[in-house]
């Protein structure tokens, strides 16, 4: 029996079961041998009576689409099948056929159900609905995340008693209260005290220094004149990491914490940082303190190390994206400010925008430059030359800091991508109205923009133009067709199981979700650019169900994590990071997550093809 138990414990979810449960499963197991081509379960046939686990050989999962029979998955040793039918006691939704001589372990249904009842991990792994399985897989990962960063709630960190001052008090009184209580921040509020509303603000010792003393204001200045209101705040239920990120993004150090609209305390960045050693907070600070470019040369390496640390700690992909954005944004601002100091202030306001993955807050360990420059329309003739110079210096310096040039020349140094706002508006409009190949490609990069620096409000000028795509059925249909061009590499799992096939986790992985999310967001008229926020925001109005949107989001998270971890290992081995993974080298769990993610993408691609009738387009 050891033969069977030791085999089972090599694969999920049996590796999660206590030893006595594995032994019990092994003792109750049945074993069957199938010849090549033999049908094990039949679509629409009798419900499965067992959980099947491939011991030797392999089986094909077949689905009938119209008149065609398609192999959509091939399972190898350690992989299980039959459970959706077994759980629901319904006819199998797919046909399972041995593609080679196959020895299968079969767990009878009573034992299977008992194991499911007694072991949550086993239950989650064998959820009948594919969407649930992915969601559970993610939850298991998050449960293993670093408790300090990803499981501590802000409510757990509130220690200080909250001191409140009236906005009509003087700054001297505020300073006296702070020094008497030994604190660095006061809540400013009018009755009802502590209820979070528009006149709830804060005042910090930094405000007293920067906004009062440095500005030469007298000691009897009223608090309301220098306070920050309404104050940003998070709930006691928010994660500590969420609080840290918000403080980083806004450059603040104090955060009022509320419970059901009532302020219960104050948390500072040091309250959070005390709990962990490696912190992303030091990156922006380092940028500010650097005396020159030389000190920022290995900046991208340091960002990569931070990402690596967050990955190990179990951070979610969206959080990692935000941390990288905070770090990159700080660098961009510093560099642009320095350039402006050197060549003089801009003749008109402008916006420095990043595009593609940086625009979506989805940068990974290494990011090429993708940027553009937009300047105000009322520019004098010499403005073009100024911005050309600024762009060249900026791109050079980014290269020096570790951001390689864009191979497709999507950079502000390209005159096409350094233009006044009106030209950008005209370009965006043309792309939507005449959605040819090139236009679709451009829109997929440029519509995902994000402004990092500059006084021009690019959003106000460009977003209304992009919003025109909502309701433009021709544009959306073309965009849908382009989004369906790459398909999940499912049929090749059969060969993958046998040799060392590689799979590109970007072009045939995350990028497919990015394209679908963009389509849904434009269809729903949403302004979000991040893939996960797009999915979350679009489903109420777009042609995608909530379950499908959440399934796609989970698939994106899992594929991104897989890709990041893969790149992390490549960097650790001193290799250039790539998106290619060798399927047989993945762990059994990773293989399953990859397959299930791709199957969900394939499913949603099929329904998009139906909705948009992409097959009928000329």
């Amino acid at each position: 029996m050891e033969e069977i138990t030791s085999f089972l414990t090599g694969y999920p979810p049996f590796d999660q079961l206590p030893p006595q449960a594995v032994t019990r499963a092994a003792r109750g197991m049945q074993i069957e041998y199938f010849t090549a081509g033999q049908t094990i379960l039949e679509f629409g046939g009798a419900p499965a009576k067992f959980l099947y686990i491939v011991r030797k050989g392999g089986v094909d999962l077949l689905r009938e689409t119209g008149s065609e029979i398609e192999i959509f998955d091939t399972l190898g040793p350690g992989e299980a099948f039959g459970y959706p039918s077994l759980i629901r006691d319904q006819a199998p939704a797919v046909t399972v056929r041995a593609h080679t001589e196959t020895l299968a372990y079969m767990l009878p249904s009573e034992l299977f159900h008992r194991l499911r009842e007694e072991n949550p991990a086993f239950h989650r792994f064998f959820a009948a609905v594919a969407f649930d399985r992915l969601g559970f897989a993610l939850k298991v990962r998050q449960d293993r995340a670093d408790p300090a960063l990803f499981q501590t709630r802000l409510g757990d960190l509130v220690r200080r008693s909250l001191m409140v001052i009236s906005p009509d008090a003087t700054v001297r009184e505020a300073a006296q209260l702070m020094s008497k209580e030994g604190i660095s921040c006061l809540l400013v509020d009018l009755p009802p005290i502590g209820i979070l509303d528009h006149n709830t603000g804060i005042i910090t010792d930094r405000d007293l220094r920067n906004r009062v003393l440095a500005a030469g204001l007298p000691a009897d200045t009223l608090v309301r004149e220098v306070m920050t209101a309404p104050a940003l705040s998070l709930s006691t239920e928010s994660l500590a990491f969420e609080g840290l990120l918000l403080m980083l993004e806004r450059g603040i150090h104090h955060l009022p914490i509320s419970e059901q609209g009532v302020v219960v305390g104050m948390v500072t960045n040091t309250d959070i940082l005390r709990r962990q050693s490696r912190s992303p907070v030091f990156l922006p600070r380092q940028v500010d303190r650097a005396t020159g470019l030389d000190e920022l040369r290995n900046y991208t390496d340091q960002v990569a190390m931070t990402v690596s640390g967050l990955l190990d700690a179990g951070a979610r992909i969206a959080d990692i994206g935000r941390v990288v954005a905070v770090a990159h944004d700080a660098l961009h601002r510093r560099l642009l400010r320095d350039i402006e100091m050197e060549i003089g202030p801009p003749p008109v306001p402008y916006a420095w925008v990043v595009l593609g993955s940086e625009g979506r807050l989805e940068q990974t360990l290494r990011t090429d430059q993708d940027n553009a420059l937009i300047y105000a329309d009322d520019a004098p003739p010499e403005a073009a030359a100024y911005f050309r110079k600024l762009a060249h210096m900026m791109v050079e310096q980014l290269v020096a800091c570790g951001f390689p040039r864009c191979p497709g020349d999507v950079m502000a140094t390209n005159p096409q991508w350094c233009q006044p706002l009106a030209s950008w508006q005209a370009m965006f409009r043309r792309w939507i109205d005449v959605p040819e190949e090139e236009a679709l490609l451009r829109s997929s990069i440029f519509f995902d923009y994000r402004q990092l620096y500059g006084d021009l409000d690019a959003e106000a000028g460009l977003r209304p133009v992009i919003a025109r795509s909502q309701g433009n059925t021709i544009f959306l249909a073309r965009l849908a067709r382009a989004a369906l061009r790459a398909t999940p590499p499912l049929t090749f799992f059969r060969s993958v199981a046998l040799d060392d096939e590689r799979i590109d986790l970007k072009t045939r992985g995350t990028a497919m979700v990015v394209d679908l999310a963009r389509l849904f967001a434009l269809e729903a008229g949403r302004t979000e650019t991040g893939t996960l926020s797009r999915l979350q925001a679009s489903w109420p109005t777009a042609s995608v169900s909530q379950a499908a949107a959440e399934g796609l989001a989970d698939a994106f998270e899992l594929l991104s994590l897989l890709r990041l971890r893969h790149q992390q290992q490549q960097i650790a081995r001193g290799e250039e990071p790539t998106n290619l993974v060798v399927f047989p080298q993945l762990s059994p769990l990773e293989r399953r997550e990859l397959k299930e993610s791709l199957q969900i993408i394939a499913r949603i691609q099929r329904s998009v093809a139906m909705t948009y009738q992409t097959g009928r387009l000329g």
Binding site: M1, E2, E3, I4, F7, A26, R27, G28, M29, Q30, I31, E32, Y33, F34, T35, Q38, R55, K56, G57, E101, L103, M106
Partner: protein, 235 residues
């Protein structure tokens, strides 16, 4: 001494009821499909290879129902050697059995009802049947004057049969030697997992998997009857 001999004779004349019921069968209908029959796959551990001189030390078996090995029917027992029989040190090494273990084991007499219960109405499957069947028959004869009834399939014989067939069909070269007859080597050559330590139950399990693989290969059309299976590997 005299008393013992008389008792022995008495036992030989009046075979136990379980044994009589066992002999009555019924055995699986030879015309039915091989998957529809019940099988019991058996392996024994002995003190040596000569049934006349050596004795049975352990029995392991597992059932096959509906073409599936039922691990919940696994059964293994040690058997106490006759009084005064000294188990040879070399066989102890092979089986990892200690003298103390077998000395405390139930007698063949005590084991008989369970053993017969497992064998009843089932086709017996063994690897190299001469040894296992020889020892069981010897034990049944000396104790009760009985012997194994019902059909027996030998997986070693099936292996030879499959080899010959493959040669006739030209699937393998004519000069290719016959496969090794050793259980573990044979299982491995068919890509099958081998069950752990060399003991009666593990070997019965390995034999059971081997049998399923062989039967599946003999049955590409899904119409192999018990009769044809016995023609290929029956004893």
């Amino acid at each position: 001494m005299v008393f013992l001999r008389n008792w022995d004779l008495f036992r030989k004349r009046e075979r136990p009821a379980v044994l009589q019921a066992y002999e009555a069968g019924p055995w699986p209908d030879p015309r039915s499909h091989w998957r529809d029959a019940s099988y019991v796959v058996l392996d024994v551990e002995t003190s040596g290879l000569d049934p006349r001189r050596d004795v049975l030390l352990a029995i392991g078996l597992v059932g096959i129902e509906g073409g599936r090995i039922r691990l919940d029917t696994c059964w293994r027992t040690l058997v106490r050697p006759p009084e005064g029989f000294l188990v040879d040190a070399s066989s102890i090494r092979i089986h990892n059995l200690t003298r103390a273990e077998v000395a405390e084991a139930p007698t063949f007499d005590a084991v008989l009802p369970s053993l017969i219960d497992h064998l009843a109405r089932r086709i017996l499957v063994v690897h190299v049947s001469q040894v296992d069947v020889g020892f069981l028959n010897r034990a049944l004869r000396t104790n009760y004057g009985g012997r194994l009834a019902g059909p027996i399939i030998d997986t070693a014989r099936l292996a030879m049969r499959l080899h010959d067939r493959a040669q006739i069909l030209g699937e393998i070269a004519h000069e290719q030697p016959a496969p090794a007859i050793q259980l573990r080597a044979l299982a491995t050559s068919m890509g099958l997992p081998v069950f752990g330590e060399h003991d009666a139950l593990n070997d019965a399990l390995t034999t059971a998997q081997l049998f399923l693989a062989q039967a599946a290969r003999l049955d590409p059309k899904g119409n192999l009857s018990i009769k044809s299976l016995l023609r290929s590997g029956g004893v």
